[in-house]
Symmetry: C2
Subunit: 330 residues, 2 copies
Amino acid sequence: MIPAPYLLYLGHSADFIGIKTSRGLATFRRDDCVGEFRHDDCPLTLDLPRLTMAEGAAAGAKTLVLGIANSGGSMGEDLIQDAIAGLEAGMNIASGLHQRLRDEPRLVKLAESKGLQLFDVRDPPADLKVGNGYARAGRRLLTVGTDCSVGKMYATIAIADAIRARGIKADFRATGQTGILIAGAGVPIDAVVADFISGGIEMLAPARDDDGWDVIEGQGSLFHPSFAGVSTGLLHGAQPEALVLCHDPSREHMRGLPGRKLPSLAECLEANLQVARLTSPDVRAVGICLNTSGLGREQALELCKMTEAALGLPCTDPIAFGVEAIVDAL
Amino acid sequence: MIPAPYLLYLGHSADFIGIKTSRGLATFRRDDCVGEFRHDDCPLTLDLPRLTMAEGAAAGAKTLVLGIANSGGSMGEDLIQDAIAGLEAGMNIASGLHQRLRDEPRLVKLAESKGLQLFDVRDPPADLKVGNGYARAGRRLLTVGTDCSVGKMYATIAIADAIRARGIKADFRATGQTGILIAGAGVPIDAVVADFISGGIEMLAPARDDDGWDVIEGQGSLFHPSFAGVSTGLLHGAQPEALVLCHDPSREHMRGLPGRKLPSLAECLEANLQVARLTSPDVRAVGICLNTSGLGREQALELCKMTEAALGLPCTDPIAFGVEAIVDAL
């Protein structure tokens, strides 16, 4: 386990989505966050105290969380220098980037000499097996999306919480670095070797017979040409009885790919149901989650109503309006 | 490059498909193979001289190729002992298994002390990028399958050869360990980190403007719950203008999954075209390749004719009848 409390790293980031790991911790584990570290050119804030490395350590931070995500997940010299400064100040370092802290000899050496730890959250379990798709016991819900970073993790956590609030067992099953940091466990599914995608999810959400739900965090999108392989394996491994489709209505093109249009909700839902049927023939869609943070409350409600009417499914913004309608549909 | 000639390892294998890497080399690089190594309980042969390790080395073998493939790709103690014997006899070792030779300290130590090399063919390139799906120049054909191990590699090599025989440039682009050993290059796509599947194929078959073809080896199947994520990313990264569907009519269930039925050819073709359209909107199917090795010649011809009539596409067995009809359709 990664020692809390945390100092959240924003670095030089000017991309709200790029800091999603730091933001996720600030939202769901706020009591464990002493502050945020950002450079002068970073226009973003998580409304936590802005602290230097030394101030963060003095405020009790045990771990500096490099909670930024960039496509490809590499680590620039800037980031390495900041990680070095974090270690010098006496904090462990945690990172969810593809490029590993342990592959940077300067960090390894310094951490060792200081008796501190490096946590590569994206390291997959060593004992993965290939999936088999055989029917297994248990109730499973999976969030899917029209694109990457459209709010799947938020929706997943909200649904797991709402099921539990009704006295039914439910576990949030994390598949990305942010979710894993929040939950304290999970399988970083975009980082496993390609042959083990579905098998990794079968391990994350194994058969259960306690009438409880595994609420599984989706990744990517069947319509994102960079990552659809991950989304496909996730659908097959999850063997979900229920799908929730997540969408950001303000997204103008697929993330990272100017010019590539998003699919329609209906087209996206149908494609996900079709792929899911390979291992879960009776899979059904139970709701739509919109990220309406860019809209006013009235506009947002209106959009949810219109979407509900168009698709015949409950539609909500999990943060603005909760997920009760979707949990009712379960 | 892996030094030839080779001694091909069959070990204790009793599974004709399980020895496909050794068999591929015996078929397509036969002049480079001095013999086969098998234990007494191995009922298979590649019709090469059966040699001990010492005899193989004496016959000039520079490398022992551990050309067996098992689901999951682990390396048992038997295999390690045989690899040790190969090194003791003075041969380098090459392996396409997921589990790496270099992760077995006994092999690393012995190879070092003998001045021999260990080749992990399944090591992906270090500089992979995520795919982007943007339209790129060049003509590309991809083989897809109803299942794993149904003859995609054979079909791909045959098609590349047949295009070249007509005076048009064509390159076989290998995506699996067997193909990579045959071609001497390629990207082991089932071994890359999941986020890089489509990007790995974009690197393997980059834009080209010489009117030549990239003939890309498919992997897995959209209908195989263990590996469909790989097949999906491969389709997106390949951005193929043409698909060839490969099928083994004798297959009773999806490979490794008793009880799971194969899709129909029509259903499989339609699903592949649909997924491919994300990055190649005008993709078309140009032919069907059947592995009819279990049938008599008359039966095989009859089956090809029936399939041709049913699907409206040229159908052939690449080994028995060649691929001219498919190349005509290009």
